[in-house]
């Protein structure tokens, strides 16, 4: 499951393990397309990775802090440390391949 979180929950949510944070917005078409694909990925990977969604409109500073200026963007963290950011829509296979190296 992809859990929607806000700025004040962020730090605790990503503090341990692998976390994938989907930065998106209501008005962003490609974000809407990515959401169901990411949901499928999260189902497939079970509990090995935590998935979150952050709305950039409501959490502008958080997005800016990570230098996110194009969305959708997937921020990957390990124990709270940024590993990489993947920008743009991706098919399920590409996301699985990218996350594979953290499992």
């Amino acid at each position: 499951m992809v859990k929607k979180i806000s700025e004040n929950e962020f730090k605790e949510a990503v503090a341990s393990g692998i976390a994938v944070v989907d930065f998106s917005a209501e008005w962003c078409g490609p974000c809407k397309m990515l959401a169901p694909v990411l949901e499928e990925v999260s189902e497939e990977l079970g509990e090995s990775i935590n998935f979150f969604n952050v709305d950039v409109d409501d959490n502008f500073e958080l997005a800016e802090g990570y230098g996110i200026i194009n969305i959708p963007a997937l921020l990957i963290l390990k124990d709270g440390q940024k590993q990489e950011i993947q920008v743009g829509f991706q098919p399920k296979e590409s996301i699985l391949q990218c996350l594979g190296k953290y499992l």
């Binding site: 230098g67 200026i69 194009n70 963007a73 950011i85 920008v87 098919p91």
Partner: protein
């Protein structure tokens, strides 16, 4: 829910038309995107001497025969430019310039090779300040500086929209028509050379000047295949396919000039046929899996 087509064919050159005809013969539900004028490249050919059965035919005449063939098969052309194709798993969602969305189980891409080369730095900074859709990312450029490269007057609306949000908008028109934009947009008559930066976009280099910007929006008439279909494997502007015209994405096929040289009409028509039959095989297999 939207109507789900068996196949969406994009492109009305010999590859796309041949694919659409074969799919129709195989009783598949097809939507064909392109131009009612079919292909400019066919139209403009002076004389073609190696199209089987039609010796020394002019491009114009060949185009007419193509149109007649479509009419006979009752295949219609949807004139709506597709700007994005998303692989959703079991199907693909196609979004058009007019913001319509279409769903198809398979996609056959046959759009030819008329897209330009990317600017140096364009691919490197994609998603790091380079974007192809101003209306998509505009809110993230609040109080930032932006350059928009527009390939046609249609893109001026995007510049106006961006000017409502960004602190400074430069607009670089790549066309000769007069630009009509409000005072909030600074029109720069110059030629883009490259995009530079470190972690993110910092500068747009033009022939006669440098612009310090946080973002560069490149708005082109025709988009490169990798941009059109995120995740699609591309090698030097050509889509990577195997002998069955399969790409790296399941249910997604490509044919014609877009797959690489030789750029020949009959090769394109042949590949369109192969792509269509591969799509049929894929659809049949999926149907069997569902049973």
């Amino acid at each position: 829910m939207e109507e789900r087509y068996d196949a969406a064919v994009i492109g009305t050159g010999p590859a796309g038309l041949s694919a659409a005809i074969t799919l129709k013969i195989r009783n598949k539900k097809v939507i064909l995107f392109g131009s009612k004028n079919l292909s400019g490249k066919v139209e403009k050919a002076h004389e073609i001497n190696n199209y089987l059965g039609l010796p020394a035919i002019s491009g114009e005449e060949l185009g007419k025969r193509f149109a007649e063939h479509l009419q006979q098969m009752e295949i219609e052309i949807t004139e709506d430019q597709i700007t994005s194709i998303y692989a959703m798993g079991d199907y693909h969602t196609l979004i058009s310039k007019t913001n319509h969305s279409y769903e198809a189980s398979t996609v056959i891409l046959a759009t030819g090779v008329h897209f330009g080369k990317p600017y140096p730095g364009e691919e490197e900074f994609l998603g790091k300040g380079v974007s192809y859709c101003a209306t998509c990312d505009a809110p993230l450029y609040k109080n930032k500086r932006v350059a928009i490269i527009g390939s046609s007057p249609r893109e001026e609306a995007e510049a106006e929209f961006m000017a409502e949000i960004a602190s400074r908008v430069y607009y670089i028109p790549l066309y000769k028509e007069p630009v009509s934009l409000g005072d909030s947009v600074r029109v720069v008559e110059d030629r883009p050379v490259s995009i530079e930066g470190d972690q993110k976009v910092e500068k747009l280099i033009l022939k006669n000047q440098k612009l310090t910007v946080d973002g560069v929006f490149i708005l082109r008439e025709s988009v490169s295949p990798a941009q059109l279909a995120p995740g699609l494997a591309v090698e030097q502007n050509h889509v990577v396919v195997n002998r069955s015209m399969e790409t790296n994405l399941k249910g997604f096929f490509a044919c014609g000039d877009i797959t690489g040289m030789p750029y020949q009409y009959i090769k394109s028509a042949g590949e369109g046929n192969v792509a269509a039959l591969s799509a049929v095989a894929y659809l049949d297999q999926k149907r069997r899996e569902l049973k």
